[in-house]
Amino acid sequence: MGRTSGFFMTSDARSTDPLTERLLADPRGFLGDDVRNEFPLLAANPDLIYLDSAATSQKPEAVLSAIDRYYRQDNANVHRSLYDLAERSTMAFEDSRRVVESYLNAASHREIIFTRGTTEALNLLAWSLSELLVTEGDIILVSTLEHHANFVPWQQAAIRKGAELLLIPALKDGTLDLDFLSTLEKDSRADRVKITAVAHISNAFGTIHPVRAISRWCRERGIPLVLDAAQSLPHLPIDVQASGADFLAFSGHKVYGPMGSGVLWGREEWLEKMPPWQTGGEMISMVKPEKSTWNELPYKFEAGTPDVAAAVGLAAALKWMKDTGVERLEAREHELGLYTYKRLSSLEGLTLYGPSDPFRRRAVFSFNLEGIHSHDVAQYMNTVGVAIRSGHHCAQPAMRLMGIPSTARASLALYNTHEDIDKLIDAVKGVQEYFR
């Protein structure tokens, strides 16, 4: 089974995935629950039920010690220095880039740009791509279900360029309404679309969006497709070359890596044409008073001293995932997700948002309890050691669509167990009791 045989390749279909079938036959055989012990914070807090990994993940020992080791053994500024320590630091940085390249199956290390996170990657793109492609009257297409990081930068780019921000609408079940694309063609607005940007998985509802269908539509029209993979990279194997996307962004801190790490992947043809965004050291070739010229890829997009320790930590996280087995992780999470879905949706007085088909969703469970506000739900759960998030999840347009201000959200990572979900269910009952 090749690395692209995971969910990504089948994300538009349902339950035909051999993995899922293997899993359903042997639901909990993939990975022991003791994986939790590889996470120092969780090991030190045995009573903590951490269900907020969509906000940020906990970090395994392998990542923490990679960062620490880097500072103790290899710390120096990178590039252009002729002493051994700097050479080691440069190697650590560039090796990390190669790890990302291979994890994503990118065509070249020149396509891997280190950023602070998804937000910075998307800001870079929104600026640079709109400089390259967008003029007055054009359209930038995003969806109603985006995180603000994949919404506001495009909105601001549209305002700057006198263009229009158009939203792919969503249905009440938290899935995208792709009929809209046909509408765009009929009224010939499709010709004005210059950029499309969507999330792979919605952080508000956990919906897996139909990336293949969207990318086919974009490809036919030569429109670059930007994929916000912040919520999918932690859960699905991703092969960027097979993805049909032209750009992909994710955050290291959500995928067991350190804060301050993140990646923008882009196809080289695009990156070559795009103007740089931040400027300064490292990213230049020649600086003259009137004008400057730029360094080659990927450095053109990496201004200033990079966070080498963050890159090293991110590479350690991806290696750790690969060593553990991305498909095993995926299967484990999927199975736990099915269990969570089943238990949550059977509760009285609980509205679960997102697709009712559990195969079209992953890891994120947004809900509200009848007559109890999400913030009160979260506040109560804290007292029984269950850490969930409440609020609009940086997705106000998506909340508005549902006609609600906020939800309570439990999100999974691979250190979660069936016991965690059982405690979540007990906690829901506890909340209902408390506020009865």
């Binding site: 030190a44 807090n45 009573d47 903590l48 109890i372 506000h373 999400s374 913030h375 009160d376 506040q379 109560y380 804290n382 007292t383 050691g385 409440s390 609020g391 609009h392 106000q396 909340m399 201000p405 906020s406 408390y434 506020f435």
Partner: protein, 150 residues
């Protein structure tokens, strides 16, 4: 080891608060008020509409609110609406001011002791993230009073 937050859950959700949450006083359908005049807590997205009716004697006759916020914001609006009638605008303003001072931590919660049931809202100061919940209705009232034709 986990360090528990300073406040205990029952300090936040006192009996009186839960009571006002479950049975809010003076909650009414205010759909005749335009959405533009909705008051919002941007940190959570909750909204509140407020209507203040003045009597001929220059005193507040009644305060009505509409909106489905959290327990704290609902109870705060409900408690406020019970307490305000009978006050002049100036008295109401002083009242609001004193309340906000306590919730901002500029004055001790004991300041609220003579305020009857409203005193329970003093417990919210131990939960910094919920302070905006407790003050939403009060900021809304402040604004509404300002805009009232004198």
């Amino acid at each position: 080891m986990m360090q528990q937050s300073s406040g205990d859950l029952d300090d936040l959700y006192m009996e009186i608060i839960l009571d006002h949450y479950k049975s809010p006083r003076n909650r009414a359908d205010l759909s005749h008020i335009s959405d533009d005049e909705t008051h919002e807590n941007p940190s959570c997205g909750d909204t509140l509409k407020l209507e203040v009716l003045m009597g001929d004697d220059g005193r507040i006759k009644s305060v009505l609110f509409d909106g489905h916020g959290c327990a704290i914001s609902t109870a705060s609006a409900s408690l406020m609406s019970e307490r305000l009638p009978g006050k002049t605008r100036e008295e109401a303003r002083q009242f609001i001011d004193a309340f906000l001072k306590v919730l901002r931590g500029e004055e001790h919660p004991s300041r609220l002791e003579e305020w009857g049931d409203l005193a329970v809202l003093g417990g919210v100061v131990q939960f910094p993230l919920r302070i905006k919940c407790a003050t939403l209705a009060w900021h809304a009232l402040e604004k509404t009073l300002e805009e009232l034709i004198p």
